[in-house]
Symmetry: C2
Amino acid sequence: MHPLRQHIEKIISLSDTEFEHVLSHFEHKSLRKHQYLVQEGEYDKYDNWVIKGCLKAFYTNSDGKEHILQFAIEDWWVADYDAYFNTLQATINVDCMEPCEILQISLANREKLCTDLHKMEYFFRQKITNGYVALQKRILSLLSNNPQERYEEFIRLYPTLKDRIPKKYIAAYLGVSRETLSRLYSNNS
Amino acid sequence: MHPLRQHIEKIISLSDTEFEHVLSHFEHKSLRKHQYLVQEGEYDKYDNWVIKGCLKAFYTNSDGKEHILQFAIEDWWVADYDAYFNTLQATINVDCMEPCEILQISLANREKLCTDLHKMEYFFRQKITNGYVALQKRILSLLSNNPQERYEEFIRLYPTLKDRIPKKYIAAYLGVSRETLSRLYSNNS
């Protein structure tokens, strides 16, 4: 089964014809390691579903420090969603930490799929609802957890990311210093 | 026009019959100041739309410190969404900072409305999408902004909340100390 169909059928069922219709709204893109999928200042025309690879979405503030909004690996979605949904210039960057294979969908095609197939509207509502709940948990973690608690929660939620993503980026995701994270790694290895 | 209809019709159009159908899925609730709408450890059976009043959703960690996940005033929605969508016991509390009038909808009724009316599915997808984008911005603010920048962003986004909500709760929302916030208030008054 096509990996995108597997992904969608975790939430809804599609006939072969329906899946072909859905797939026809996506475009395939390959990127090399270090290439950018989204660049600050450009319009982010696509929501991106990862077939293969590992990416990071990050914001660079005025002193040049990188803050990680999200990671994305196989089966995850990534974009500058403010820019994508509101047709604005991107304020974040998304780049590839590994070579990546992506399926991209424009906002017009996404909305068209939701209009064509009520169950695709349901699918996207469920996905964004799960994402909303995850972001609320992350906000509470940033507000109330100390660095060790944040790190332990990250390892618990995303066990496969620990050895795939350089420590400096995990530190920038958790909002802790690299030195603190190195200490936590050595205590938990 | 009913305030809920005004709220929904910012995104979709409803006939009189459709709105009556939508409204019939909600229940009305009145709460006094300081009463709880959601209590930690109980099931959160309702999503809540605020007709009148002001609430805070907060998490209390093991040392008794309150961290504010969100505020809610007229026209906003509030719940423990993890508990609501996943039928779990609430891990946060929602209480009233003013007397409140609320319209509540159970998850079963919310899903039924989405099934009955494709455009209500669209409505709820748009609402949660806007919420998702706002949470991503808040995460970046928590990661990259200093207390003054967070405070200024809060005032810009929610100008009416500054004089309605006690400073200690705004501090607990921004993740800054009360002393720091008082200093910022006196500089911006």
